[in-house]
């Protein structure tokens, strides 16, 4: 069943939280980046954008990147971790940018 933007955002947040656990032992900057993504995603969660169709492709990219990063962490593949984290940051930035939609003013 297709997932909504909100569901994929929630899944991305959960994946990022799992990745963060103990990550500081490998690289503190990785941990900092992921904590920032989680904080921003939680701040945006439940806003109108994630109820819309245009939220689906961008949150799908972020979710897939978070799944890949979690797999790399669980397999201890640290050589591939940094470029995969860069991809997640890039897709997260797209989500954050698009979700910052302005409101309608009706006078």
């Amino acid at each position: 069943m297709p997932q909504s933007g909100q569901e994929m955002l929630d899944e991305s947040i959960q994946n990022c939280k799992k990745i963060v656990e103990g990550l500081g032992q490998q690289d503190e900057s990785w941990e900092t980046s992921l904590v920032e993504i989680v904080e921003k995603f939680e701040e945006l969660s439940d806003t109108f954008f994630f109820k819309t169709m245009p939220s689906v492709p961008v949150t799908r990219s972020a979710m897939r990147n978070s799944v890949e990063l979690l797999e790399l962490k669980e397999s201890g593949n640290w050589d591939s971790f940094s470029p995969a984290l860069a991809s997640l940051i890039e897709s997260a930035q797209v989500v954050i940018e698009k979700a910052g939609m302005k409101g309608t003013t009706l006078t």
């Binding site: 109820k51 819309t52 245009p54 698009k98 302005k102 409101g103 006078t107």
Partner: protein, 291 residues
Amino acid sequence: MTDPVLITGGAGSVGRQLTGMFLEIGRPVRIFDLPFMDFDGLEGQDGIEVVKGDITDSESVIDAVKGVGSVLHLAALLPPNSEKDKQKTFAVNVDGTKNIVDAVTQVAPDAIVVFTSSISTYGDTSGEDTPVGVGHSQSAIDIYADSKIHGEKVVKESGVKSIILRIGSIAVPAFLAPPEPWPFTASQRVEMVHRDDVADALLASADSDESVGKVFNIAGGKSWRLTGKDYVEDFFTFMGAPVDLAVYRESTGWNDWYDTEESQRILGYQNRSYQHYSDEMRAIVEEMMSG
């Protein structure tokens, strides 16, 4: 007309759009807006003069008005901000308008002042026959409408050459979050107007001697006459969002269907139908999906 047109609140989206339209027809533009606004793309451009100041400061308003041929007075506090502080809203929307007409009287007495009022000034007209004409009584149900009624009075009593545009709710063809609540009930009559049609009406008013002394309703025309439910359900469908997320006003608001026969005959601004707007919205969402 070669004297510049002054656009108050001109650094906003409608002001920027109008600026481009005036430059296209070779008319210089003077933008007046608050110093902290973003003037990128305006400052230093040929044909554009930027005056930074506050509409509540009569001295800076005089600087802005000197030598202009027309004034499009857009600067105002809008809902929801207008509903937070009546004193501040009246300072900007009423006293600021007084500063404009006083300055025009002093330093640009031949200029036409176009005052942007609102159809909200009619109040709740839901139990009445339509369309609502400009002769209908005014009865504010919020601070914004109250300020616009007082603003109209200031303009009319000033003796300047003026045109009053009572503008309907503006439909912006963009990916925007919906208001919560929508300022009308589901069953209420609504007649929005396309943002670019409003710009066309303002452009046409700037030098319209025929319109001086008149009050016009500015609304979308017959194709835009819907119920609140029709409009909102279409909006959510364009966005691909569940319609049951829509939140309507609990009591009747100030939207209705409007008599725009005279404004359309003189200003010729109703150039975009509701179907046109719907097509634009679908295209915007499709582009977002593919991008």
